[in-house]
């Protein structure tokens, strides 16, 4: 979503993005001409008249599980967004019985919070796991 019109979205897709993504952009390119939605999500820069780089992860119940907002010159990390969604999906599937520690990615062990884990996380999670 940006402040550009749907007509500019079409041209950007047809002229440039379709050369990067075969078949063009598969998802909806939303237009927020006056920044009203961006203001609602607190990512609209009223001085510059543009949206900042906000990214919201919303679960199937419509609940915001996470967000990130960057200033314009730095791009997002798509793999990190996917990792976060995978983590939220795992937690949701476990109905909250599992949690994903720092550095978690699919295939790595989760934590099962409960009385037995208090003070014993060190036995299950090593600092190196945040970096591998």
């Amino acid at each position: 979503m940006s402040v550009d019109s749907v007509f500019v979205h079409k041209m950007w897709n047809d002229v440039e993005l379709s050369k990067m993504v075969s078949g063009g952009i598969p998802f909806a390119m939303l237009s927020d001409a006056a920044g009203r939605v961006g203001s609602l999500y607190d990512v609209y820069d009223i001085d510059a008249g543009v949206e900042t780089r906000g990214r919201f992860i919303i679960d199937p119940d419509g609940i915001i599980q996470g967000y990130e907002v960057l200033t314009p010159p730095v791009g997002r990390n798509v793999m990190e967004s996917l990792r976060q969604i995978q983590a939220f999906q795992l937690v949701r599937q476990s109905k909250g019985t599992e949690a994903t520690p720092s550095g978690w990615k699919p295939g790595k062990p989760t934590l099962k919070p409960g009385p037995d884990l208090v003070g014993r996380v060190w036995e299950h999670w090593k600092t190196s796991m945040a970096f591998d």
Binding site: M1, S2, V3, D4, S5, V6, F7, V8, H9, K10, M11, W12, N13, E16, G24, P26, F27, A28, M29, L30, S31, D32, A33, A34, R36, V37, G38, L40, Y41, D42, V43, A48, V50, E51, T52, R53, G54, R55, F56, I57, I58, D59, P60, D61, G62, I63, I64, Q65, G66, Y67, P72, P73, V74, G75, R76, S81, I85, F88, Q89
Partner: protein
């Protein structure tokens, strides 16, 4: 699913849907008004419901109207960015 819209010369507009629309109304001023605004600004938080909105969109060759809540039931990634034809 998104509805296809008729395209005219007027630029199609979207905006907030539901309770948030109250924010669009002019402030009555005074302490009470400011407090109300602060509460509404606090809508976007982790663990809270994503504010609903409608927005015109371009999707696979068509101009459509997208309503966020129509996608509830799936995982949604909502991305904002500064502008088309910019560089990042």
């Amino acid at each position: 699913m998104p509805e296809e819209m008729k395209v005219g010369c007027a630029r199609p507009m979207g905006g907030p849907v539901g309770e948030q629309q109250a924010e669009e109304q002019p402030e009555t001023g005074g302490e009470t008004g400011q407090e109300t605004r602060r509460e509404e600004r606090a809508m976007v938080k982790v663990g809270r419901k994503a504010p609903d909105f409608v927005a015109p969109a371009y999707h696979k060759g068509k101009f459509v109207t997208v309503k966020l809540s129509e996608y509830f039931g799936k995982w949604i990634v909502l991305c904002f960015y500064p502008g088309d034809f910019t560089f990042v």
